[in-house]
């Protein structure tokens, strides 16, 4: 496995029903640091140990992919991860074309693919990529966040690229909502690959309360030039880093590896901290479980310095958007 590291200290924040900031707490450092406590009055540092699973998938072989998920989940658990994030379409493979309908599933208890994953989510939270079929038989590229044996949230890919080497719009329905959701680590927003190339989606998630962005991709490697990084990797890393700066939030990216016919997938999972700093970087092109420990108190420290969220003029955005859109 690639670069991995042990958590700095074991996770200690399970079972919080409600989190509250106690800024007047005697333990509060007048120069800035703070602690979060739960209602029971325990004061604990907030930390999230994250595992990014950059796997190669078998195209259309859900059983083989599921087995690999369970294997990586086991490894992540051994490294005391709180959350493992798999790439886009991690259960099915990417360039599915006419395979789509035969690998679709529903994120429910009695689904043979989701049942073992839901069971595994009792130990640690999971983000998995799959083809979701709705009750009217529309197929979506989707990511599910599983925690404590249940599905906390499903994001359906909103932007389906149908240009260059991509042809997603031909085979999939578009998702039509972008929502942040609460987890035991705070409020999270999930996006899938092309989604985060549109600035509006992370922006909406940010306004909807997301402090941790979980992005997943199956990004085909391309743009070989004289440099030691493919252009596709350079572009994606740039975008992720920019968001962590602009939204003073954690930005996590899990990208797959392996090949499908002539397409390569470059991996290179990343975690950017709230100041745009690179906290973890998986290897390129190889399967790996990349670990990162997120000090969630960092969000407060960064925003104390850089109150971009506080100063955001959503009223102005709304007003100007209405004006711009009314002209079209």
């Amino acid at each position: 496995m690639g670069r991995s590291r042990k958590p700095l200290w074991a996770s200690v924040h399970r079972g919080f029903e409600s989190l509250s900031l106690r800024q007047s707490d005697p333990m509060d450092n007048p120069f800035g640091s703070f602690f979060i406590s739960n209602k029971r009055g325990k004061i604990r540092p907030m930390q999230l140990t994250l595992a990014l699973a950059q796997i190669a998938t078998n195209l259309g072989d859900v059983k083989a992919n599921l087995d690999k998920h369970l294997d990586f989940i086991k490894q992540a658990k051994a490294q005391k991860a709180d959350l493992i994030v798999f790439p886009e379409l991690s259960l099915t493979g990417y360039a599915l074309q006419d395979i789509v309908a035969s690998v679709a599933c529903k994120p429910e208890d009695d689904d043979p693919v989701f049942a073992p994953l839901l069971e595994a989510s009792r130990d640690l939270d999971l983000v998995v990529g799959f083809v979701e079929e709705d009750s009217r038989h529309r197929f979506y590229i989707a990511s599910a966040y599983l925690s404590g044996g249940r599905v906390l949230h499903v994001h359906r890919k909103i932007y389906l690229p149908t240009y260059s080497l991509f042809d997603e719009g031909r085979f999939f329905a578009r998702g039509d909502s972008v929502r942040a959701f609460d987890t035991r680590f705070g409020r999270v927003g999930m996006l899938i690959c092309e989604d985060f190339w549109h600035v509006s989606t992370p922006y909406l998630l940010w306004l909807d309360g997301a402090d941790i962005f979980l992005f997943s991709s199956a990004s085909p490697g391309r743009g070989l030039n004289e440099y030691d990084k493919l252009e596709s990797a350079y572009w994606v890393e740039n975008v992720n880093q920019s968001y962590s700066n602009a939204f003073t939030s954690f930005v996590v990216h899990s990208n797959r590896v392996g090949f499908e016919d002539g397409l390569n997938f470059w991996g290179g999972a990343t975690v950017y901290g709230t100041n745009g700093e690179l906290m973890a970087h998986g290897p390129y092109f190889e399967e790996a479980l990349t670990m990162a420990t997120l000090d969630l108190n960092k969000i407060r420290r960064t925003r104390s310095r850089l109150p971009l969220l506080r100063d955001e003029r959503t009223d102005l955005v709304q007003k100007e958007l209405e004006r711009i859109l009314s002209k079209q």
Binding site: A56, A95, Q97, N225, E226, F259, F285
Partner: protein
């Protein structure tokens, strides 16, 4: 204007060896067979296959015709020695000559095509014997220009170098330790005595690679290419050539009759299920 086709060869090797390994192993094979002409492209394909699969899993074929240059055979041997692969030499003259001699007025192009297709027959026969897949040796320049024989030298199971222009293949050859005489010599299909690619095509790879890079990779218009220093006539010749040879880059179109037709709405990657 400086047109840069330089590639990071470490990165190219990483991706291309990963590709060879993945695409051969996932369909249950472990071996590769390469038609080693004595030229640059096949030397690079073989070197990549060796790096991906190990020398013991790669078979090199030398397939001379009686009029082939002795240099080709020698240069192929240099590659075999350098990369320590198994090899077999099959003279194709006895297979090709009955057809070639059947028409005293046969053109060079026809003879060349017969040789290329005869080599393809031997290559595919040996993949069966060696239980391997044929690794292709066509580069991006020749695929775009159609400078190859359909179902002949273009035939392969996988092609690791088809997205590299000839001048980029040469860069890769240096780092793969392809023997220097092969890197230095003038590229040739060696279908008749004294033939060189650049002599036959009428332009150098250096020049056409830059133009193709602008047209294909950078999506330049004709005017953009002229502004970059290319003559309009040359640009138009190359565009025409790329267009005329599209048929060589595709499976034959199937006439659609049913609701679901192979190639149109029966769409699966080759890696389907693997």
């Amino acid at each position: 204007m400086k047109i840069e086709l330089k590639i990071n060869t470490d990165l190219a090797r990483k991706i291309l060896t990963g590709f060879i390994k993945s695409e051969i192993h996932r369909v249950g094979f472990t071996h590769a067979v390469v038609n080693l002409s004595g030229g640059l492209d096949s030397a690079v394909s073989l070197a990549l296959a060796v790096e991906a699969l190990g020398a013991e899993n790669v078979m090199a074929l030398r397939l001379p015709y009686r009029l082939s240059s002795p240099d080709s055979l020698e240069h192929a041997q240099l590659v075999i020695d350098q990369f320590k692969v198994q090899s077999e030499t099959v003279d194709i003259s006895e297979m090709a000559d009955p057809l070639i001699k059947s028409d005293p007025n046969m053109s060079k192009a026809r003879k060349g095509n017969i040789m290329a297709r005869t080599r393809m027959i031997v290559l595919y026969d040996r993949t069966e014997v060696f239980k391997g897949l044929a690794v292709g040796t066509s580069n991006k320049t020749e695929i775009l220009l159609g400078y190859s024989t359909l179902w002949g030298d273009m035939a392969s199971a996988i092609n690791p170098i088809g997205d590299l222009y000839k001048t980029q293949v040469r860069q890769l050859a240096q780092t793969l330790k392809v023997p220097q005489p092969i890197i230095d010599k003038a590229p040739s299909a060696d279908l008749w005595e004294g033939q060189t690619d650049e002599g036959e095509l009428g332009f150098t790879y250096e020049r056409v690679d830059k133009l193709l890079y602008l047209l294909v990779d950078k999506r330049y218009t004709i005017q953009d290419c002229m502004d970059a220093g290319f003559e309009e006539a040359f640009i138009r010749t190359i565009i025409k050539r790329v267009q005329r040879n599209q048929f060589k880059r595709m499976m034959p179109p199937i006439a659609k009759l049913s609701n679901r037709t192979i190639g149109y709405d029966f769409l699966y990657l080759r890696d389907w299920g693997t």
